[in-house]
């Protein structure tokens, strides 16, 4: 690791933590004139056990549900004190702190138009407390509070479309990214930092501990999520979802099964017998989504 990294080694993240890699990439792009407000979660716990810290930038954590509000306070304070110029303010949250408990504070920050980039590291469950269901958890994933069982196929509900909901606030810039698409991610971080007003990036962050896959497959899983079309790389300025720009079109979408079977959180869809109806349902939803995206793309031509 280069010595000028702002997110340094030696933290307590699990081997193969997708979020840790993502944070590093975001800060590489943001640079040293950056202040981060961080929600409670894995990221805070694994990087700041007193008296150590993995952060070489000013960093503040207050609670679980309020990174957006804390960042808002930093924003106006620096403005008042005449120290705002040239400073990036980032808010970091996990999916729990963003989709669920911190959603109100996030919405408030977006509506007030703060020049803040909010980044959600989405690992699709409450990992810090032990893999519990979140509104970000995808359909049929087994978690400790939506366990697969004789009468359960895992989470019954669909994943909440957080980035679209955020974009509906009519903010300056919304994007999705993965660590497997490094250049795409960095470009999006740059755009998010450069626009005036609120911006939001959802970074797909595979979690070997929570998704139960070998830790060396984190980047591969990110790639497979994109190649199967489960996770769409897109960006948007403003609120009009018809103007969404897909930044990566898989040449030929792989079957979702290939992505799902890599992770033990979906193992019950394959064993003891293959749950073809569930797998078909997931595939159909992905197909529908891409049909819509292709139509939008045609219209835009």
């Amino acid at each position: 690791m280069a010595s000028d990294e702002l997110f340094t080694s030696g933290h307590r993240g699990c081997a193969g933590c997708g979020m840790a890699a993502a944070v590093r990439m975001v800060l590489q792009e943001a640079g040293p004139n950056t202040i981060v407000a961080n929600a409670t979660g894995c990221l805070e716990v694994m990087t700041t056990a007193y008296p150590e810290t993995a952060w070489k930038i000013p960093w503040i954590h207050a609670a679980f549900e309020n990174a957006a509000a804390v960042a808002s306070g930093v924003d106006v304070a620096l403005k008042k004190l005449g120290k705002r110029e040239g400073i990036n303010i980032l808010a970091f949250g996990g999916d729990g702190g963003t989709y669920d408990i911190g959603f109100q504070a996030l919405s408030g920050m977006l509506e007030r138009g703060h020049n803040i980039t909010y980044v959600v590291f989405d690992n699709e469950a409450y990992m810090n407390t032990g893999i519990q269901r979140c509104s970000s958890t995808p359909f049929a994933a087994s978690t400790t509070t939506s366990p697969a069982g004789k009468f359960s196929i895992g989470k019954k509900e669909k994943k909440k479309p957080i980035a679209s909901i955020v974009a509906a606030h009519d903010i300056s810039y919304t994007a999705t990214a993965t660590i497997a698409n490094y250049r795409d991610l960095k470009k999006k971080v740059r755009k998010a930092l450069d626009v005036e007003g609120p911006s939001f990036i959802q970074i797909f962050s595979p979690c070997p501990t929570g998704w139960r896959y070998p830790s060396e497959l984190t980047v591969e899983l990110s790639r497979m999520a994109v190649e199967t079309g489960i996770f769409v790389l897109w960006e948007l300025e403003g609120a009009d979802m018809n103007k969404i720009k897909v930044t990566y079109w898989p040449k030929e979408r792989k079957p979702v099964e290939e992505y799902l079977k890599m992770q033990r959180r979906f193992a019950h869809l394959f064993k003891p017998e293959k749950k073809t109806d569930i797998l078909n349902k997931i595939q159909e939803e992905v197909d529908e989504k891409w049909k819509h995206l292709e139509e939008l793309n045609e219209m835009a031509r």
């Binding site: 407000a37 810290t53 000013p58 309020n66």
Partner: protein, 393 residues
């Protein structure tokens, strides 16, 4: 000398924030404190105040933003009440744990259920363990003065803890009183700009709000304990400096006709004036009674309460709050304070004025009567009494 103005209590707290040259006001309106953000926004709109007003979507976010702003080096004030303070509660503990000298005016209002917008002290009393200094105003002049002093006390590097200033819902928040509003120049001399020890600064990056393991957590808490102890002394210093500068004397515990009193009634907030009037009436009838007012609840004025207790046969505590399953919270703390005293008065607790029930001189007569009865019998038969309670069917 300041300018005499006839103002509401909420205005007094807002003008204090203006005079204190507060940098950031994060706020979410709630009855009976709404006039505070309204007044601040008017000041800003008219160019009378150079501050950032951050209108958040909840009290929780208001206090969260206060934390972010204070950690950035800004002087921060807000106002809330009742349910709003409860929604902030999580962040109150974090503000004090992070040693951020935020000042909050609280329009003391009852808690739901049933929902009620009128005065009692339950909201701030329930936050007495939050690590905030607590001041209680008797009148609008107090509200203004205590707000100003709260900044100076909180920001002292021996303290670095947040403060809340309680003023009774409606009785003070919405009632017009004559207030001496100090001149900006005088306040500037009294209250220099906030000099934080550490801030979020890209030139000197630091980690705020880190993870405290069992190996370190207790020492963090001990430092808060020590800071609160230091505040005892700093409050005395600031009260005395304020007296010199503005001519108004403040005490943690103010006594009235206590020197030869058999009974002393202890009060907080706006009921204190009524208590003194009742003392005067009863004195005319030959009853040896006095009153004392608690202005500072945190840090608790142990020394002053011990001195006070030596004077009376009965210390009657008027609690405008209730800790269910025990009694009034102030009573409990006074009992705890006196536990190791060789000689102590009988202590009787009176739950009074909950949810805005009027507190009248008659109520203090009733308290005196029960106290006299205890002196006559030489014992306290019932520890907790509810005053002016209707028959509950």
């Amino acid at each position: 000398m300041g300018i005499k103005q006839v103002v509401k209590g909420n205005f007094a707290t807002a003008v204090a924030a203006k005079l204190a040259r507060v940098d950031v006001v994060p706020a979410y309106p709630i009855t009976p404190s709404t006039l505070f953000p309204e007044q601040i926004s008017t000041y800003i709109a008219n160019g009378e105040m150079d501050a950032e007003l951050l209108l958040t979507e909840s009290e929780h976010s208001a206090m969260s933003a206060a934390i972010g702003a204070s950690a950035s080096g800004a002087r921060v004030a807000t106002a809330t009440a009742s349910q709003g303070l409860k929604l902030m509660s999580e962040m109150l503990f974090i503000a004090s744990g992070m040693r951020l000298p935020i000042v909050t005016a609280v329009g003391n209002r009852a808690l739901s259920a049933p929902i009620n917008i009128w005065c009692d002290h339950q909201d701030t009393i329930a936050e007495r363990d939050s690590g905030w200094l607590q001041f209680y105003a008797e009148n609008n002049q107090n509200a203004l003065d205590l707000m100003l002093m709260a900044f100076k006390i909180s920001e002292d590097h021996r303290v670095l803890l947040p403060s809340m200033v309680g003023l009774d819902a409606f009785v003070l928040t919405h009632t017009m009183e004559g207030v001496d509003v100090p001149l900006q120049k005088e306040v500037d001399e009294f209250l220099p700009p906030y000099k934080p020890v550490y801030t979020l600064d890209v030139k000197n990056p630091m980690t705020f709000g880190s993870f405290g393991t069992p190996a370190h957590y207790m020492e963090f808490k001990y430092q808060q304990w020590e800071a609160m102890k230091n505040a005892e002394k700093v409050i005395d210093e600031v009260f005395s400096e304020f007296h010199e500068k503005f001519g108004r004397k403040y005490e943690k515990v103010s006594e009235y006709k206590t020197d030869d009193a058999d009974i002393i009634i202890l009060t907080m907030g706006s009921m204190s004036g009524t208590a003194r009037a009742a003392v005067d009436s009863m004195r005319r009838e030959g009853i040896k009674i006095g009153a004392a007012k608690l202005t500072v609840l945190r840090p608790f004025p142990f020394k002053e309460i011990k001195m006070l207790a030596r004077k009376a046969k009965v210390l009657a505590v008027a609690d405008r709050n209730i800790s269910f399953g025990f009694g009034g919270a102030v009573f409990a703390e006074i009992a705890g304070t006196l536990i190791n005293e060789k000689e102590k008065p009988m202590l009787i607790d009176f739950i009074i004025g909950l949810g805005g029930r009027d507190i009248t001189q008659e109520d203090f007569y009733k308290i005196a009567e029960i106290s006299k009865d205890a002196i006559k019998k030489g014992e306290v038969e019932e520890m907790v009494h509810w005053i002016n309670l209707k028959e509950v069917k």
